[in-house]
Point group: C2
Chain length 402, copies 2
């Protein structure tokens, strides 16, 4: 049978991470590949009690169809919490609950992107956004990015020269994949350019609350009044990812249209899971949970950074994230991270090669490491194995060039 | 601020049903507008116990990210149950768990539709499919449909003349909105044409198990081996809709691609909700629940049909569904169901005007009634109010024509 698929199917492929995660099921494997939160920190007993209570007292609501916009008490809690943490001035009607923030990306792509429209992003950028947006066949415009954020001169040049720029997608806090955080000055510069060229900013903020040290970053959405910034949030890192509860915060003209798109996409997000999240926030202290998560992840980041400092050969550059789940390695030019992955898997250590995170350029000598999902001694052992693999790959290359 | 949206936003609008449901919150209102299952039949206490148990014993799985394809035991249960009920020969690897079957429609549109591709559908057809597919700007080809299914001559003509037909979308059992069920002969004819023209059939089957009388319909997917039929299923009507658990059953070449699209859409469906559904099926008798649902809905259908027979003026045609949640009224030509809705809302009875269910044609004198969500005495009272409103609208029209 020769069925004809939509043309988008020619450019889509399964995420590398997914494929790599399949080989990391082996308990012997040390995986720095995923972005999984530590499951031992899930407040499972409390969630079980809450679920049972909801199903005893409010099951006709919890198990029935519910409004596309989201469970109203949860929308109110999200708006209030964002305003408290990030100094935004949002109300509940500006929150759309989504099936994870991944769905937020799908809905925003539908809202803005016709085939061939340009999307501006950091270089590298979040793979999940590349996948979600590619379904709508955009042109990617990658902007050179350093430890303080995008190069604003390069961004301004792109806005002058690229046609049909529909949005600028950024992860300004503890970015996936690099762990980098934008300076306040760069945030202001990005916003000024967005306003000058009337191009919305998508401020994706899944990691902002996982801060280990330094000043709390400022939300770009809190720096403006006109609504040119749309932000994405999620409970996946601060509560638990299995419930798939995320949100979009946007002004009414955007939000009303996103609701129509969400209705067509899945009608609404699980009513029960929304109610569990809402009741948990009401009856427990999410901020106290977060203190514990920050402590655990900080210790793991420290273990990874110090092992990398000890073990890595010269010529390997490492980011030093002040929060989040990931850090980023730049290897000597001659090392191809995909070849390295094959060698590493033999040594029972996994990571994600960096080239997946560049929608247009090729940066083969980079890789992403996750530090949130494993105790320190395993992290140290994993880094040791990885360093051995890298050294093996550098030596022959050097030998060839002699 | 003048932001430019994607061109699809010009054709999308909020579903009428959604808007009508907003005015039906008033407890005084009798609403035949939604498609809500009866909440008093939700097995809420059992679900609460199951949720608690899962969160005590398997929380690290239930609250964590999980595979895009779905929770493996649930995929197996769905395949086994379909094979038992519908004589399909599916295995677990041919099941993709979706966030409600509405998401299945979104994913299938992504898989098949480039702008301007043709989608063949019944006339009228399911509004949620029209909404999901319209995001991808197809051309709709409506085929005249009677009580036995599509007019196969008209279908063959359309397949000969229409360009780029990418799929045929049908709801063959107790259709939404009409309540009609296809004859076996028409199913065979549809399949033969699909095979001859190599156009996949999307067999959407949310209501097939809500049978009140007559022979069990045959699944089109069970009539063929090559995989040209892709089916959609859901737990929304047989268990509860708030958990948003649906599925797509398709052969590997389709399923593998749908997994990539789902990963981009929301990563995966709620792990907890999938596990709850799976454990419920394992520990309780879904078939026994279904017997109860069938009894309750049959009595409500009977109440509605007999009230319609008693109350409606001549010239009103009513379908007599043998299952499902809906029936369909055809009013005298001169009655516009949107005007009727305004009159009816004043009399505190709501329904969905039929024109929403025709993607291209205009059939203003039709409407859909839901009978699943209300006890019999309310149904009888609602039909009485509706009949009064219709009579009011017929009389002046007749007076004008005198």
């Amino acid at each position: 049978m020769h069925t004809s698929f939509a043309s988008r199917m020619n450019i889509l492929r399964a995420s590398d991470i997914r494929e790599i995660l399949k080989v990391t099921q082996n308990p012997d494997m040390i995986s720095f590949a995923g972005g999984l939160p530590a499951p031992e920190l899930f407040p499972n007993i409390a969630i079980g009690e809450i679920a049972k209570e909801i199903l005893q007292t409010r099951a006709r609501t919890a198990l029935q169809y519910s409004p596309t916009e989201g469970y109203q008490p949860l929308r109110e809690q999200i708006a209030a919490r964002m305003n408290a943490l990030w100094s935004t001035r949002l109300n509940a009607e500006e929150i759309l609950v989504t099936t994870g923030s991944q769905q937020g990306l799908d809905l925003l792509a539908k809202l803005f992107i016709d085939e061939g429209d340009a999307v501006i992003c950091e270089s590298p950028t979040y793979l999940g956004a590349v996948m979600a947006f590619n379904v709508f066949k955009p042109r990617w415009v990658e902007i050179a990015t350093d430890d303080d954020g995008m190069d604003l001169k390069a961004l301004e040049h792109a806005l002058h020269t690229a046609n049909r720029v529909k949005m600028m997608y950024v992860v300004p806090n503890y970015q996936n994949p690099t762990g980098r955080t934008w300076s306040t000055e760069r945030r202001r510069g990005l916003l000024a350019l967005a306003q000058r060229f009337t191009v919305p900013i998508i401020e994706d903020n899944p990691y902002g609350e996982l801060i280990f040290e330094g000043d709390t970053p400022r939300a770009i959405q809190a720096m403006e009044e006109d609504g040119i910034v749309i932000s994405l949030g999620t409970f996946s890192k601060i509560f638990c990812p299995g419930l798939r509860i995320g949100w979009i915060a946007a002004r009414k003209p955007f939000l009303d249209r996103l609701v129509v798109l969400k209705q067509a996409a899945d009608l609404h997000t699980s009513t029960l899971d929304q109610m569990i999240t809402s009741v948990y926030m009401e009856t427990h202290d999410l901020e106290k949970d977060l203190m514990q998560k920050r402590e655990v992840y900080r210790a793991r980041r420290d273990a990874m950074v110090s092992a990398l400092e000890t073990e890595m050969p010269p010529g390997v550059k490492v980011t030093h994230p002040q929060g989040g789940l990931f850090l980023w390695l730049e290897l000597p030019e001659e090392v191809d991270a995909r070849q390295l992955l094959r060698v590493s898997l033999d040594r029972r250590v996994a990571f994600v090669p960096g080239d997946s995170f560049f929608p247009t350029t090729q940066r083969k000598n980079t890789l992403r490491l996750n530090f949130s999902n494993m105790p320190e001694h395993r992290i140290v052992e994993g880094v040791r194995r990885l360093a051995t693999a890298i050294k093996e790959m550098i030596v022959p290359a050097a030998a060839i060039s002699d």
